[in-house]
């Protein structure tokens, strides 16, 4: 049996390993909501009832995927990340908390909330309740949405205002990455995915600046999207500034972690909607591609890492450009979006990019389907994406709350059972 590291390496080289590599939790877009992690751990008898689960990413309320769960699901990957969060407080000082769903959880010390009169929860930048709240979880909800705190009268924003949150990593932060990589590399055989904060250009999750106490610049979501058309030069300069910082950080990280990581998750900005691209291909080429290429070129010239791009939605019309920009891997592969048929994607792009995701439809089948429907769809996706390698299995984006544990287990068990190479799916559902 191959090591996980070797399995993932071969898949990324577009060769068939012994079986399909499986991911859960290697990135903040291939994880699972804390409620579902808790139910899964209980179903698998991994914990006594009431054992809390750590929230390792408070914006999306992702639960920790510990080694015992990784092993139970035969996961081949593990996440290397920094010490920070979207809300600007570090992942430390764990305290007890309960989700609206009743899940016992552990959250960082800076996770300070305030209930609104209607029961919504507010979350504060850097844990500072004296600053305007930067996140809201509706009553009964499952994660936070950014609160837009754009200052009025923003007709003449300054480039540096949208760069405030992007800084060169401190020695302490680099050491955090180094130590985490060393532990995972020496104590496991998992393929490591480096989650590099701040490389995403125009990532709408980051635009509101949830980690800043008083963000300035363009922080409104609609304002940002409009600015891609009305303030092109301004946005170009923001991306230019961000890329300079990114390259410095990548160099520092590479010096610290070397070739121990297999993949660098570089950008989570979405370029697709349910029906088509979010922006025109020309806008991508003018504003984003030059900087994406610079970063990918640096990684490919200086490291052995493969680069991963996340973009939700219908991106068929943009994939050639993403490949030209140098990305090796595309995630989450939202096949439920328009023009994203898995067989067509593999046929046209499969020799040039690895599909990381796409394992099951998370808008319908995984949350609402029967286990048999999950099984059938997973088999179909393996048929589509599996041949020739170039496929790392994951659901499409984070597994949400309310997804039945049985469906999650069926998904991974099917992927393991029918993901052995050479693929033999004739007897599969």
């Amino acid at each position: 049996m191959m090591s996980s590291r070797e399995r993932v390496r071969l898949a990324l080289e577009h060769q068939e390993p012994d079986c399909l590599p499986l991911d859960l939790g290697a990135t903040t877009v291939t994880g699972m909501h804390v409620d579902t992690v808790y139910r899964l751990r209980q179903t698998l008898d991994l914990d006594a009832p009431g054992t809390p689960v750590k929230v390792i990413e408070p914006f999306q309320m992702l639960g920790e995927i510990k080694p015992d769960l990784q092993n139970a699901l035969a996961i081949d990957t593990a996440r290397v990340c920094g010490s920070g969060t979207h809300f600007g407080f570090p992942l430390e000082g764990w305290k007890e908390w309960t989700t609206f769903g009743g899940t016992p959880a552990l959250v960082p010390a800076g996770f300070n909330t305030q209930p609104e009169p209607n029961g919504d929860l507010l979350l504060y930048p850097q844990g500072d309740r004296s600053a305007p709240a930067s996140g809201r979880m509706p009553r009964g909800g499952f994660y936070f949405d950014a609160i837009v705190r754009q200052a009025p009268g923003n007709e003449e924003p300054r480039v540096e205002d949208n760069l405030e949150e992007f800084t060169v990593f401190s020695d302490q932060e680099v050491e955090y990455y180094r130590r985490s990589t060393e532990e995972l590399y020496t104590q496991t055989d998992k393929a490591l995915v480096l989650n590099v904060g701040g490389v995403s250009l125009g990532d709408i999750a980051r635009v509101p600046g949830m980690g800043l106490k008083r963000p300035r610049g363009i922080r409104g979501i609609e304002d940002w999207y409009m600015s891609l058309s009305t303030r092109r030069d301004h946005i170009y300069k923001i991306f230019e500034g961000q890329t300079e910082i990114n390259l410095v950080n990548l160099e520092k990280l590479h010096a610290a972690v070397g070739e121990r990581v297999a993949v660098a998750y570089l950008t989570g900005a979405d370029f697709g909607t349910q029906n088509g691209p979010l922006i025109s291909p020309q806008t991508y080429r003018n504003l984003f591609l030059p900087f994406h290429k610079r970063v990918n070129d640096w990684v490919h010239q200086n490291t052995t890492w493969k680069t991963l791009m996340h973009s939700c939605g219908s991106i068929w019309a943009l994939l050639d450009d993403f490949i030209s920009a140098g990305f090796d891997i595309i995630n989450p592969v939202q096949c439920s979006a328009a023009h994203m048929n898995p067989f067509d994607l593999k046929r046209k792009f499969g020799s040039r990019i690895t599909f990381w995701g796409g394992g099951v439809d998370t808008q319908s089948t995984l949350p609402f389907g029967s286990p048999q429907e999950v099984r059938s769809e997973v088999c179909e996706r393996i048929r589509a994406f599996g041949p020739g390698g170039g496929f790392v299995f994951n659901a499409v984006h984070n597994i949400q709350a309310l997804v039945p544990a049985e469906n999650v287990l069926t998904m991974y068990r099917t992927a393991r059972e029918y993901g052995r190479y050479p693929l033999r799916l004739e007897s599969a559902a």
Partner: protein, 212 residues
């Protein structure tokens, strides 16, 4: 009239200051407020919708055009009274359902419906079924448009259909739904009257539903 064509083009091009200035100028020159929608704003947004469907316009261009349309309609709305009152194509209560705070798609739909001559009662986000029922009653609405972006909140659309039925209003409104995880099959499974896959489709659907 050349000036209507100029206003129409300013909206399509997303030139809000030009749209505002032209609207003011034309009103001062005696153009009736009620003429602007049928001769400039509605054709402009119909063209924006066409370009969206043809993948010539994307989210940034649509938002900019909608902003320009609003720059004109904000001036006109208070003037559409008395002899200049416009017969609304329909009265729409719209909102993002309970538990969901996402509104960009809903806002684009609302703007395009308004530009198509519908009266919009926008309840915002995280809207309960009760609030929708109250708004339908108070505004004598004949259309409800609901949006959800999450698989965890789209289930609340069913509650709205049930609440309208329980309130005895179901046969007085048509219900349309939309949002990323929503499908035509889902819409029909919860008893809605239609599904709009994007903003232009929502406008087309609204026109069909009020014509029935």
């Amino acid at each position: 009239m050349a000036q209507f064509e100029e206003l129409k083009q300013a909206i399509i091009d997303g030139k809000a200051p030009v749209a505002k200035e032209l609207t003011d100028k034309m009103l001062k020159e005696g153009v009736r407020p009620g003429e602007f929608f049928p001769k400039a704003i509605i054709p402009a947004m119909d063209e924006v919708g066409r370009r969206m469907r043809e993948c010539e316009f994307f989210i940034p261009e649509v938002l900019i055009a909608a902003r320009a349309a609003r720059a004109s309609s904000d001036i006109l709305r208070p003037l559409l009274v008395g002899a200049d009152a416009m017969v609304a194509a329909g009265i729409v209560v719209c909102g993002t359902v309970k538990g969901d705070l996402h509104d960009i798609g809903k806002n684009i739909v609302a703007m395009m419906l308004e530009s198509a001559g519908f009266k919009i009662v926008d309840l915002g986000v995280d809207v309960t079924a009760e609030k929708i029922v109250d708004a339908v009653r108070q505004n004598n609405a004949n259309l409800v448009a609901m949006s959800a972006l999450l698989t965890t909140t789209m289930v609340n659309m069913k509650g709205v259909v049930e609440a309208l039925t329980a309130a005895g209003l179901r046969d007085k409104v048509k219900i349309m739904v939309g949002g990323a995880p929503v499908t035509d099959a889902w819409a029909h499974s919860i008893g809605a009257d239609g599904y709009g896959k994007d903003a232009p489709a929502a406008v087309e659907l609204a026109r069909q539903l009020v014509a029935v």
